[in-house]
Protein backbone atom coordinates (compact mmCIF):
# COMPACT_ATOMS: atom_id res chain seq x y z
CA UNK A 1 0.00 0.00 0.00
CA UNK A 2 1.44 3.34 -0.95
CA UNK A 3 1.75 5.79 1.90
CA UNK A 4 1.39 9.51 1.35
CA UNK A 5 0.96 10.60 4.91
CA UNK A 6 2.18 14.16 4.48
CA UNK A 7 -0.01 15.42 1.68
CA UNK A 8 -3.38 17.02 2.31
CA UNK A 9 -5.90 15.57 -0.11
CA UNK A 10 -9.28 17.04 -0.95
CA UNK A 11 -12.31 14.94 -0.18
CA UNK A 12 -15.84 15.82 -1.24
CA UNK A 13 -18.83 14.50 0.62
CA UNK A 14 -20.28 11.75 -1.53
CA UNK A 15 -22.82 10.14 0.82
CA UNK A 16 -24.13 10.69 4.31
CA UNK A 17 -26.71 9.12 6.57
CA UNK A 18 -27.66 9.46 10.20
CA UNK A 19 -26.43 6.72 12.56
CA UNK A 20 -28.11 7.93 15.75
CA UNK A 21 -29.73 11.16 16.92
CA UNK A 22 -26.25 12.59 17.46
CA UNK A 23 -24.08 10.79 14.93
CA UNK A 24 -23.72 10.59 11.19
CA UNK A 25 -21.85 8.45 8.70
CA UNK A 26 -20.05 10.58 6.12
CA UNK A 27 -18.31 9.14 3.07
CA UNK A 28 -15.81 11.22 1.13
CA UNK A 29 -14.59 10.71 -2.41
CA UNK A 30 -10.85 11.36 -2.13
CA UNK A 31 -8.95 11.30 -5.43
CA UNK A 32 -5.44 10.02 -4.74
CA UNK A 33 -6.36 8.29 -1.47
CA UNK A 34 -3.77 5.50 -1.11
CA UNK A 35 -6.11 3.06 0.68
CA UNK A 36 -6.05 2.10 4.32
CA UNK A 37 -5.89 -0.85 6.68
CA UNK A 38 -8.67 -1.48 9.21
CA UNK A 39 -7.94 0.63 12.29
CA UNK A 40 -6.19 3.51 10.55
CA UNK A 41 -7.36 7.04 11.20
CA UNK A 42 -7.27 10.24 9.21
CA UNK A 43 -6.71 13.88 10.06
CA UNK A 44 -9.53 16.13 8.87
CA UNK A 45 -8.75 19.81 8.33
CA UNK A 46 -11.39 22.52 8.07
CA UNK A 47 -10.69 26.06 6.93
CA UNK A 48 -12.86 29.09 7.65
CA UNK A 49 -13.22 31.80 5.00
CA UNK A 50 -10.64 33.97 6.78
CA UNK A 51 -8.06 31.18 6.73
CA UNK A 52 -8.54 29.95 10.31
CA UNK A 53 -7.95 26.18 10.39
CA UNK A 54 -8.60 23.28 12.74
CA UNK A 55 -7.61 19.63 12.58
CA UNK A 56 -9.22 16.63 14.28
CA UNK A 57 -8.51 12.91 14.00
CA UNK A 58 -11.19 10.41 12.96
CA UNK A 59 -11.06 6.65 12.65
CA UNK A 60 -11.90 5.21 9.26
CA UNK A 61 -14.88 2.84 9.14
CA UNK A 62 -14.04 1.61 5.64
CA UNK A 63 -10.95 -0.32 4.52
CA UNK A 64 -9.20 -1.33 1.37
CA UNK A 65 -7.77 0.25 -1.72
CA UNK A 66 -10.69 2.35 -2.96
CA UNK A 67 -10.66 6.15 -3.20
CA UNK A 68 -13.64 6.57 -0.86
CA UNK A 69 -13.45 6.66 2.91
CA UNK A 70 -16.27 6.45 5.40
CA UNK A 71 -16.12 8.21 8.76
CA UNK A 72 -18.64 8.08 11.61
CA UNK A 73 -18.80 11.21 13.71
CA UNK A 74 -20.48 11.74 17.04
CA UNK A 75 -21.58 15.30 17.80
CA UNK A 76 -20.24 16.82 21.02
CA UNK A 77 -22.71 19.58 21.84
CA UNK A 78 -19.99 22.06 22.77
CA UNK A 79 -17.49 20.82 20.19
CA UNK A 80 -15.93 22.96 17.53
CA UNK A 81 -15.61 20.46 14.68
CA UNK A 82 -18.00 17.56 15.26
CA UNK A 83 -21.26 19.60 15.12
CA UNK A 84 -20.18 20.99 11.75
CA UNK A 85 -19.45 17.53 10.34
CA UNK A 86 -22.67 16.04 11.71
CA UNK A 87 -25.12 18.89 11.08
CA UNK A 88 -23.79 21.28 8.44
CA UNK A 89 -21.61 19.52 5.89
CA UNK A 90 -23.57 18.94 2.68
CA UNK A 91 -23.09 16.60 -0.27
CA UNK A 92 -20.38 18.00 -2.53
CA UNK A 93 -18.77 20.09 0.23
CA UNK A 94 -15.05 19.55 0.58
CA UNK A 95 -12.67 19.07 3.49
CA UNK A 96 -8.96 18.28 3.54
CA UNK A 97 -7.79 14.86 4.64
CA UNK A 98 -4.38 13.46 5.51
CA UNK A 99 -3.61 9.83 6.07
CA UNK A 100 -3.87 6.98 6.61
CA UNK A 101 -2.33 7.45 10.05
CA UNK A 102 -1.59 5.21 13.02
CA UNK A 103 0.15 2.04 11.86
CA UNK A 104 -0.15 0.41 15.29
CA UNK A 105 -3.87 0.23 16.04
CA UNK A 106 -4.53 -1.78 12.90
CA UNK A 107 -5.60 -5.33 12.20
CA UNK A 108 -4.51 -7.08 9.04
CA UNK A 109 -6.27 -10.18 7.70
CA UNK A 110 -2.97 -12.07 7.61
CA UNK A 111 -2.69 -11.89 11.43
CA UNK A 112 -3.33 -15.26 13.03
CA UNK A 113 -4.00 -14.43 16.70
CA UNK A 114 -7.64 -14.54 17.94
CA UNK A 115 -9.00 -11.00 18.21
CA UNK A 116 -11.11 -9.37 20.91
CA UNK A 117 -12.41 -5.90 20.14
CA UNK A 118 -13.78 -3.74 22.96
CA UNK A 119 -15.51 -0.46 22.11
CA UNK A 120 -16.91 2.35 24.19
CA UNK A 121 -19.31 4.66 22.33
CA UNK A 122 -17.90 6.08 19.09
CA UNK A 123 -14.80 3.96 19.77
CA UNK A 124 -16.54 1.30 17.70
CA UNK A 125 -15.58 3.00 14.42
CA UNK A 126 -12.16 1.36 13.82
CA UNK A 127 -13.75 -1.99 14.70
CA UNK A 128 -16.35 -1.59 11.97
CA UNK A 129 -13.43 -1.52 9.55
CA UNK A 130 -11.88 -4.59 11.22
CA UNK A 131 -15.07 -6.68 11.18
CA UNK A 132 -15.72 -5.69 7.57
CA UNK A 133 -12.19 -6.72 6.55
CA UNK A 134 -12.54 -9.95 8.53
CA UNK A 135 -15.79 -10.79 6.75
CA UNK A 136 -14.64 -9.88 3.27
CA UNK A 137 -11.43 -11.90 3.66
CA UNK A 138 -13.57 -14.91 4.69
CA UNK A 139 -11.24 -15.13 7.65
CA UNK A 140 -11.67 -17.98 10.15
CA UNK A 141 -9.51 -16.43 12.89
CA UNK A 142 -11.84 -15.90 15.89
CA UNK A 143 -12.84 -12.24 16.16
CA UNK A 144 -15.51 -10.83 18.43
CA UNK A 145 -16.67 -7.42 19.55
CA UNK A 146 -17.84 -6.23 22.94
CA UNK A 147 -19.66 -2.93 22.41
CA UNK A 148 -20.43 -0.79 25.44
CA UNK A 149 -22.90 2.04 24.92
CA UNK A 150 -25.23 4.12 27.01
CA UNK A 151 -28.54 3.05 25.51
CA UNK A 152 -29.79 0.94 22.60
CA UNK A 153 -30.51 4.06 20.53
CA UNK A 154 -26.83 5.07 20.69
CA UNK A 155 -25.58 2.13 18.62
CA UNK A 156 -23.62 2.92 15.45
CA UNK A 157 -24.13 0.37 12.62
CA UNK A 158 -26.48 -1.81 14.70
CA UNK A 159 -27.95 -3.65 11.70
CA UNK A 160 -24.58 -4.44 10.25
CA UNK A 161 -23.19 -5.63 13.60
CA UNK A 162 -26.29 -7.75 14.28
CA UNK A 163 -26.38 -9.59 10.96
CA UNK A 164 -26.59 -13.33 11.53
CA UNK A 165 -24.04 -13.73 8.75
CA UNK A 166 -21.52 -11.53 10.50
CA UNK A 167 -18.36 -13.54 11.09
CA UNK A 168 -17.39 -11.47 14.11
CA UNK A 169 -20.24 -11.65 16.66
CA UNK A 170 -21.13 -8.63 18.77
CA UNK A 171 -21.90 -8.68 22.49
CA UNK A 172 -23.88 -5.60 23.51
CA UNK A 173 -23.41 -3.91 26.84
CA UNK A 174 -25.53 -1.00 28.13
CA UNK A 175 -24.39 1.45 30.78
CA UNK A 176 -27.55 3.57 31.28
CA UNK A 177 -30.62 2.07 29.59
CA UNK A 178 -31.21 -1.53 28.54
CA UNK A 179 -33.61 -2.77 25.84
CA UNK A 180 -36.92 -4.34 26.98
CA UNK A 181 -36.47 -7.89 28.19
CA UNK A 182 -32.70 -7.54 28.62
CA UNK A 183 -31.43 -9.90 31.31
CA UNK A 184 -28.80 -7.60 32.78
CA UNK A 185 -29.24 -4.25 34.44
CA UNK A 186 -27.51 -1.16 33.14
CA UNK A 187 -24.04 -0.40 34.46
CA UNK A 188 -20.46 0.13 33.48
CA UNK A 189 -18.34 -2.85 32.42
CA UNK A 190 -16.90 -4.67 35.43
CA UNK A 191 -14.09 -7.19 35.70
CA UNK A 192 -16.79 -9.86 35.98
CA UNK A 193 -18.48 -8.71 32.76
CA UNK A 194 -15.17 -8.72 30.96
CA UNK A 195 -14.37 -12.18 32.24
CA UNK A 196 -17.63 -13.63 30.93
CA UNK A 197 -17.91 -11.61 27.71
CA UNK A 198 -14.41 -11.61 26.22
CA UNK A 199 -11.94 -14.24 24.99
CA UNK A 200 -10.06 -15.71 27.97
CA UNK A 201 -6.31 -15.22 28.49
CA UNK A 202 -5.71 -18.92 27.74
CA UNK A 203 -6.64 -18.24 24.11
CA UNK A 204 -4.00 -15.48 24.02
CA UNK A 205 -6.17 -13.02 22.11
CA UNK A 206 -4.87 -9.76 20.73
CA UNK A 207 -7.22 -7.23 22.31
CA UNK A 208 -7.99 -3.81 20.84
CA UNK A 209 -9.70 -1.26 23.08
CA UNK A 210 -11.04 2.03 21.78
CA UNK A 211 -13.11 4.78 23.36
CA UNK A 212 -12.85 7.66 25.79
CA UNK A 213 -9.75 7.74 27.97
CA UNK A 214 -11.48 6.66 31.19
CA UNK A 215 -13.07 3.69 29.44
CA UNK A 216 -9.78 2.57 27.94
CA UNK A 217 -7.97 2.90 31.26
CA UNK A 218 -10.59 0.94 33.19
CA UNK A 219 -10.96 -1.86 30.65
CA UNK A 220 -7.23 -2.33 30.06
CA UNK A 221 -6.54 -2.45 33.79
CA UNK A 222 -9.30 -5.03 34.25
CA UNK A 223 -7.96 -7.22 31.46
CA UNK A 224 -4.50 -7.22 32.99
CA UNK A 225 -6.01 -8.24 36.34
CA UNK A 226 -7.68 -11.15 34.50
CA UNK A 227 -4.28 -12.37 33.32
CA UNK A 228 -3.90 -10.85 29.86
CA UNK A 229 -0.37 -9.74 28.97
CA UNK A 230 0.05 -6.00 28.46
CA UNK A 231 1.85 -6.77 25.18
CA UNK A 232 -1.36 -8.22 23.77
CA UNK A 233 -3.46 -5.12 24.45
CA UNK A 234 -3.60 -2.24 21.99
CA UNK A 235 -5.46 0.92 22.83
CA UNK A 236 -6.73 4.02 21.11
CA UNK A 237 -8.01 6.91 23.19
CA UNK A 238 -10.45 9.35 21.66
CA UNK A 239 -9.88 12.11 24.19
CA UNK A 240 -12.64 13.45 26.41
CA UNK A 241 -13.32 11.95 29.80
Amino acid sequence: MSRRTNAWLTGSLARAHPLTASARSITFAVPGWPGNDPGHHVDVRLTAPDGYQVVRSYSIASTGTGEEIELAIDRLPDGEVSPFLVDDLELGDTVELRGPLGGWFVWRPEQTQPVQLIAGGSGVVPFIAMTRAHASAGNSIPMQLLYSLRAPCDAFFRDELSQPSATAPTTWHYTRTVPPGWSRSAGRLTVKDLKSETLPPEQVPLTYICGPTGFVETVSRALISLGHAADNIRTERFGGI
Partner: protein, 194 residues
Amino acid sequence: MMAVFGGRRRDDNPALPPGQYLTESFPVLSAGPTPSIDTQDWEFFIHTEAAHTHQWTWDQFIALPSEDITADIHCVTSWSKLGAGWRGVALDTLFAGVETGFDFVMAHSYGGYTTNLPLEDLLNGRAWIAYEYDGGEIDPEHGGPARLLVPHLYFWKSAKWIRGLVMQSGDKPGFWEENGYNLHGDPWREERYA
Protein backbone atom coordinates in the same frame (compact mmCIF):
# COMPACT_ATOMS: atom_id res chain seq x y z
CA MET B 1 -24.51 26.15 -1.61
CA MET B 2 -21.45 25.16 0.34
CA ALA B 3 -21.62 24.82 4.09
CA VAL B 4 -19.26 27.39 5.57
CA PHE B 5 -17.12 26.38 8.53
CA GLY B 6 -17.19 29.13 11.11
CA GLY B 7 -14.91 27.62 13.72
CA ARG B 8 -14.40 29.39 16.98
CA ARG B 9 -12.49 32.58 16.55
CA ARG B 10 -9.47 32.00 18.66
CA ASP B 11 -7.01 34.81 19.05
CA ASP B 12 -3.86 34.24 17.11
CA ASN B 13 -1.56 32.93 19.79
CA PRO B 14 2.14 33.21 18.93
CA ALA B 15 2.86 30.38 21.38
CA LEU B 16 0.94 27.94 19.16
CA PRO B 17 2.91 26.15 16.42
CA PRO B 18 1.18 25.81 13.05
CA GLY B 19 -1.81 23.48 13.02
CA GLN B 20 -2.12 23.29 16.83
CA TYR B 21 -5.15 24.21 18.92
CA LEU B 22 -5.26 25.11 22.56
CA THR B 23 -6.62 22.77 25.22
CA GLU B 24 -7.03 23.30 28.94
CA SER B 25 -7.50 19.59 29.60
CA PHE B 26 -4.74 17.01 29.43
CA PRO B 27 -5.64 14.31 26.90
CA VAL B 28 -4.08 10.86 27.27
CA LEU B 29 -2.61 9.09 24.27
CA SER B 30 -0.67 5.87 24.48
CA ALA B 31 -0.40 2.69 22.48
CA GLY B 32 -1.18 0.20 25.23
CA PRO B 33 -2.29 -0.15 28.83
CA THR B 34 -0.82 2.09 31.50
CA PRO B 35 1.98 0.23 33.29
CA SER B 36 2.06 0.50 37.06
CA ILE B 37 5.59 0.99 38.32
CA ASP B 38 6.52 0.98 41.97
CA THR B 39 9.31 3.45 42.73
CA GLN B 40 10.87 0.65 44.85
CA ASP B 41 11.54 -1.25 41.62
CA TRP B 42 12.17 1.76 39.40
CA GLU B 43 15.58 2.40 37.96
CA PHE B 44 16.94 4.65 35.26
CA PHE B 45 19.95 3.87 33.10
CA ILE B 46 22.10 5.37 30.40
CA HIS B 47 23.88 2.76 28.31
CA THR B 48 26.85 3.73 26.14
CA GLU B 49 28.82 2.12 23.30
CA ALA B 50 31.55 1.15 25.78
CA ALA B 51 28.94 -1.22 27.23
CA HIS B 52 29.04 1.00 30.27
CA THR B 53 25.79 1.44 32.13
CA HIS B 54 25.14 4.40 34.40
CA GLN B 55 22.32 3.55 36.76
CA TRP B 56 20.19 5.31 39.32
CA THR B 57 17.67 3.93 41.78
CA TRP B 58 14.63 6.09 42.58
CA ASP B 59 16.25 7.41 45.78
CA GLN B 60 19.51 8.22 43.99
CA PHE B 61 17.60 9.91 41.18
CA ILE B 62 15.41 12.00 43.49
CA ALA B 63 18.52 13.12 45.39
CA LEU B 64 20.01 14.69 42.24
CA PRO B 65 19.66 18.46 41.78
CA SER B 66 16.29 19.13 40.19
CA GLU B 67 14.60 22.10 38.53
CA ASP B 68 11.15 23.56 38.10
CA ILE B 69 10.23 23.74 34.46
CA THR B 70 7.38 25.68 32.94
CA ALA B 71 6.89 24.59 29.37
CA ASP B 72 4.37 24.46 26.55
CA ILE B 73 3.67 21.00 25.21
CA HIS B 74 2.50 20.13 21.72
CA CYS B 75 0.90 16.83 20.77
CA VAL B 76 1.10 15.55 17.20
CA THR B 77 -2.69 15.03 17.31
CA SER B 78 -2.92 18.86 17.23
CA TRP B 79 -3.59 19.94 20.80
CA SER B 80 -1.22 22.15 22.71
CA LYS B 81 -1.16 22.91 26.39
CA LEU B 82 0.55 26.09 27.42
CA GLY B 83 2.50 26.79 30.58
CA ALA B 84 2.47 23.31 32.11
CA GLY B 85 4.51 23.09 35.33
CA TRP B 86 6.91 20.23 35.93
CA ARG B 87 9.76 19.32 38.23
CA GLY B 88 12.60 17.07 37.14
CA VAL B 89 16.27 16.36 36.67
CA ALA B 90 17.97 17.90 33.64
CA LEU B 91 19.49 15.46 31.17
CA ASP B 92 22.64 17.61 31.45
CA THR B 93 22.89 16.48 35.07
CA LEU B 94 22.39 12.82 34.17
CA PHE B 95 24.88 12.98 31.29
CA ALA B 96 27.53 14.86 33.33
CA GLY B 97 29.60 11.73 33.91
CA VAL B 98 28.72 9.92 30.69
CA GLU B 99 31.28 9.56 27.91
CA THR B 100 29.98 8.80 24.45
CA GLY B 101 30.95 9.49 20.86
CA PHE B 102 27.48 8.61 19.56
CA ASP B 103 25.11 11.36 18.43
CA PHE B 104 21.77 9.59 18.86
CA VAL B 105 19.72 8.12 21.68
CA MET B 106 16.97 5.54 21.90
CA ALA B 107 14.68 6.15 24.86
CA HIS B 108 13.20 2.97 26.35
CA SER B 109 10.13 2.85 28.57
CA TYR B 110 8.60 0.39 30.99
CA GLY B 111 5.96 -1.34 28.86
CA GLY B 112 8.26 -1.52 25.84
CA TYR B 113 7.75 1.87 24.16
CA THR B 114 10.76 3.38 22.39
CA THR B 115 11.48 6.71 20.73
CA ASN B 116 14.65 8.03 19.10
CA LEU B 117 16.23 11.46 19.60
CA PRO B 118 19.41 13.25 18.60
CA LEU B 119 21.57 13.72 21.70
CA GLU B 120 21.76 17.46 21.02
CA ASP B 121 17.99 17.71 21.55
CA LEU B 122 18.43 16.35 25.08
CA LEU B 123 21.26 18.58 26.31
CA ASN B 124 21.81 22.28 27.07
CA GLY B 125 18.79 22.70 29.27
CA ARG B 126 16.30 21.39 26.72
CA ALA B 127 15.19 18.09 28.31
CA TRP B 128 14.49 16.56 31.70
CA ILE B 129 13.38 13.39 33.41
CA ALA B 130 10.29 14.81 35.09
CA TYR B 131 8.77 13.33 38.23
CA GLU B 132 6.27 16.03 39.21
CA TYR B 133 3.46 17.66 37.29
CA ASP B 134 1.46 20.61 38.55
CA GLY B 135 3.02 20.33 42.02
CA GLY B 136 2.22 16.65 42.60
CA GLU B 137 3.24 13.19 41.48
CA ILE B 138 2.72 12.49 37.78
CA ASP B 139 -0.43 10.38 37.27
CA PRO B 140 0.38 6.94 35.83
CA GLU B 141 -1.71 7.77 32.70
CA HIS B 142 0.60 10.71 32.08
CA GLY B 143 3.78 8.70 32.53
CA GLY B 144 4.36 8.57 36.28
CA PRO B 145 6.45 7.95 38.24
CA ALA B 146 8.81 9.58 35.75
CA ARG B 147 8.76 10.57 32.10
CA LEU B 148 11.08 12.14 29.63
CA LEU B 149 10.20 15.80 28.99
CA VAL B 150 11.41 17.32 25.73
CA PRO B 151 8.99 20.22 25.30
CA HIS B 152 10.48 21.56 22.07
CA LEU B 153 9.54 18.36 20.20
CA TYR B 154 6.11 16.79 19.68
CA PHE B 155 5.03 15.07 22.84
CA TRP B 156 5.38 11.48 21.59
CA LYS B 157 9.13 12.08 22.04
CA SER B 158 8.59 12.75 25.76
CA ALA B 159 8.45 9.04 26.53
CA LYS B 160 6.18 8.12 29.44
CA TRP B 161 7.36 5.60 32.07
CA ILE B 162 10.95 6.24 31.05
CA ARG B 163 13.36 3.50 31.99
CA GLY B 164 16.60 4.30 30.25
CA LEU B 165 18.51 5.72 27.32
CA VAL B 166 20.70 3.72 24.97
CA MET B 167 23.26 5.59 22.90
CA GLN B 168 23.18 4.72 19.19
CA SER B 169 25.47 5.65 16.32
CA GLY B 170 22.65 6.42 13.86
CA ASP B 171 19.10 7.74 14.07
CA LYS B 172 17.37 4.35 14.23
CA PRO B 173 13.56 4.80 14.47
CA GLY B 174 11.59 4.01 17.62
CA PHE B 175 8.01 2.80 18.01
CA TRP B 176 5.91 5.53 16.40
CA GLU B 177 8.69 6.46 14.01
CA GLU B 178 8.50 2.92 12.61
CA ASN B 179 4.75 3.40 12.36
CA GLY B 180 4.82 6.42 10.11
CA TYR B 181 5.84 9.30 12.36
CA ASN B 182 8.66 11.72 11.59
CA LEU B 183 12.16 10.84 12.86
CA HIS B 184 12.63 14.22 14.54
CA GLY B 185 9.26 15.79 15.44
CA ASP B 186 9.76 19.57 15.55
CA PRO B 187 6.27 21.14 15.99
CA TRP B 188 7.35 24.49 14.57
CA ARG B 189 8.29 22.78 11.31
CA GLU B 190 5.24 20.47 11.48
CA GLU B 191 7.45 17.37 11.40
CA ARG B 192 4.49 15.08 12.06
CA TYR B 193 4.70 12.14 9.72
CA ALA B 194 7.35 10.35 7.67
